[in-house]
Symmetry: D2
Subunit: 311 residues, 4 copies
């Protein structure tokens, strides 16, 4: 069985590598020749176009940055849909809007190909370790068929319902995440300003009704959780600009669906203010610094940031 | 040892009752004569004023609705501070602003009385069952002295630091809670609108980085958590108007401390919109209804509300 | 000189009629046959497709609801770009996003046709009376060429700079409008609640630094401005859903441009909440009702709304 | 006729001076001895306490920073109410919350003294020039009595209704002002980012439905209005921290009145973020800088700020 893998970026490359390790034959394509080279040295077959990659494939995987890239790879000149064999399933692992996925799935279905969306969480570390979570939108039959393949790249493969629902699940989870991170940031900044010890406050919240992943696992206040980016100068982790992208998908889906999203929209704007001030590459929990006095409140334990952009 | 208990409302009355059950002698006072009567039939000694209640007391407990009431009971005519014996500690269990508590603590200290703040969480059910959480602001010595008494009314007695910090802890926790409840509401409403099953979505969030108390234990979407108010017509629980009060304390503390609280402020306003439309007495998780189409999106399982106020 | 006019909706039809009255020959097209019929009885030539309409035209005008319609009419099968003569200018009067307009202008230019954007303000009343304002994005030469034609449909023809800038101007103006209407609504609702007479308050604001079009000309409180929709049950005027569309264009342009828009985003969400509660067809100044107690604060002079949707 | 004037700060001192120039006898008091000295050299009589100042007075004027100061000056030890003669009216020109004013008016009335609130707009420049606007809350009889005195310090004396309504009017006006300034800032920043000329955009808004004082008279974009603080490095004008105070009064009045104020609350938070980053002393129109890229978008014409606080 041969798998076509298109999109070898920071996420796609380690995912493809794990498929090779799992024993699959891989035909790979990316506009970046160096990215292709690295996979070739591990045994993948290089291809000049999506069309070439999918010609022989029994399964097609795509991992791309945004809707317009997925659109072009699937429907463009030398694209997937023009060369794929009838009946071969396509699994798009990109994080894009549900409407785009569903439109592409219709196009694919019209020519005899099932399409599933399977956006991931877990970041580049999870991609390398093969511990990603896949949120899969697909009919039950297709899910059963692709689940074993995805297990070569991830730890949890969650069936979210029909096509598009993988995106919905990811967007909705990250919506809660993006908001609750600011909630915890406001609470920690206010509490410390009002005189309570940060560690004591975090412990109380974590044992009470304010308990959440942003407080327990990923607390934005430095020194509370040793493994959190907050304790390491907000380096690594999940960037402000990535959170911004996901909240943009949420508010755009809400706009199209005529669904109010007041807190999500405000969260998006606050991350945008913060990104504009030069923090786009920092972990998103650095948003606590937007709510703290840059001259007075800078937590003493924080690693100095080697950037002139950050206020 | 005799305890003076002042304020026998929905929370104070069951708390006082638990102290009686624990074997303490109680001198009680409330403006509501019937509330006093009920405690008297259980063995408490009725008093006409705070001053009368505290004359013989070895400890004074107060449980009152708002700062002005605490102020009046302590410093007013026939108030606590005019009659309490030197050295007797005062424990105020009301939820008020940290600044007021600290100001009163200074007044008390100036005449030789320690004052601790010990706001609670757990609601009327927790008060009746004796399972409240007390968040205590007090010097270490005072905390050690009052902890055994509070254990007669609660399950967790948390030391939050010096006086005022109990309030800070409670306000900060409820700030996160009030925001994350709207976050989960937005995510559930958007997800269902976008076609994902509510139960599936909640399960995914609860296993991912959006996980929080508001999603796991108290999900605002009907039918997800059987014990949550959402599954029972948003009756009972923690009222919109109570959440509104606590968010008001948070934004007011932030204003005085010159601390930004953008998400907290917006959350407060959304609960205020919802309260104004007649939902003040419903559980605060009913905020999901403000974000849902009242004609189309009303969850089928919801118990009809017997009120003409709620849209 | 013949003008091709494509899009004969609520705005387009009266605009086309005014061009006929001004003596121009018109070739018209719309998917709605009745709309075409009405123009034909006034002397226009009916066409089955955009391509047919533009074949002989010396100028092409389009007035369509959304980007996807403009895209299809210009680039689709039997579209404008496939049939237009080289050198003939295209003027798109639709309100869409600047990026789409600029992309289409590039396509047109590549085949030798200039494209200007010229969104309007003034509503259906202004369209009928020929008193619209046109905000035109076009090179100076093209502007000079089309200005006399537009004067047949409007009173003010404003040159906003190069192509796309007409949309930018309209979006930015309506952004301020949408926000300031809620600002005035909050101030009027709060002031009246605090005991000041609505008319006195409006007069003070209008003579002070809060002065704005939303307060002076279009006050949302009933009975302040006789000609404003607020004094006529919020019927007519500029609908909540139209304001929602324009604020959506603003926040989307801001998202793409990585520009924060916190107040604009919140305004959009508040109109969305209000629309979802059934008010989408009411004038946008009805947003004051979202901020008022529906049972107590309903202004006495208001005309009862004959809709079961509105709270 | 002798006037007691209490509170000789940046506003009070020039106001008192104008009363002296108008020929009134003045008894003055302030905690700052130097402030008293300056007035004495102009002919005022120095007093050691509010009580001393009002003993002989036929009218009492107060101009103080915040509710607690007004409260202390009126009801404190050696305060106004303990020494004023029965029937002498009190006019408080401070900007405070309506509830406090009304409570004090009741106290005063109970002992036979009318109290009016008369907050001002026009800033220190207006105070010096005698061109302030007074927004007066008072019964009609009292208004008639004090109007001639106030005309010695201001140009417009507006009767807003009964006591407290002067504060309501000022708060509501500044609420609209604070919001619309951010609205114009967002529109100017977005428009310029999207490629339109700032001057062209301002002209279009000023001739359209976005027209407002913040755009026409006080545009936050540098170089649009020559006399506006934006054209002079945001020096002078009305400080961010003063706007913050007034929006705090508005949201607090709204909270007490159970009135939603979502845009006002968000505006307050944005000014708070900006103040916390060191901009509290800049004119409030500098909020546009919070919405602009500090490295890229800094308008070229702007005067460099000689402060290390501003990001």
């Amino acid at each position: 069985m041969e798998i076509a893998f298109i999109g070898l970026g920071n996420m796609g490359a380690p995912m493809a590598l794990n498929l090779l390790k799992a024993g699959h034959a891989l035909a790979v394509h990316d506009l970046n020749g160096q990215a292709v080279e690295r996979l070739v040295t591990e045994g993948a077959r290089p291809c000049q176009s999506p069309a070439e990659a999918v010609g022989n494939a029994d399964l097609v995987l795509t991992m791309l940055p945004a809707p317009q890239h997925v659109d072009k790879v699937l429907t463009g000149d030398q694209g997937v849909l023009g060369a794929i064999r009838r009946g071969v399933p396509i699994v798009d692992c990109s994080t894009i809007d549900p409407a785009s996925v569903r439109r592409l799935a219709e196009l694919a279905l019209a020519q005899g190909n099932d399409l599933a969306d399977a956006p991931v969480s877990g970041g580049t570390a999870g991609a390398a370790a093969g511990t990603l979570t896949f949120m899969v939108g697909a009919p039950a039959g297709l899910f059963a068929r692709i689940e074993p393949i995805l297990q070569g790249m991830g730890r949890r493969i969650v069936h979210c319902g029909d096509v598009g629902n993988g995106q919905v699940a990811k967007i909705c989870n990250n919506l809660v995440l993006g908001i609750s991170m600011i909630a915890v940031s406001e609470a920690m900044a206010l509490g410390v300003k009002e005189g309570i010890d940060a560690k004591v406050l975090a412990d109380i919240i974590n044992a009470s009704s304010g308990r959440c992943w942003s407080s327990e696992v990923y607390n934005p206040y430095p020194g509370i959780v040793e493994t959190a980016p907050a304790s390491h100068g907000y380096q690594g982790g999940f960037g402000v600009d990535l959170m911004l992208k996901d909240l943009g998908l949420a508010t755009e889906a809400a706009r199209q669906g005529k669904q109010p999203l007041p807190m999500g929209a405000l969260a998006q704007q606050l991350y945008q203010v913060w990104s504009q001030r030069g923090a786009g590459h920092l972990d998103f929990s650095s948003i606590i610094q937007l709510l703290s006095n840059p001259n007075v409140d800078k937590p003493r334990s924080i690693t100095p940031l080697n950037t002139t952009h950050t206020p």
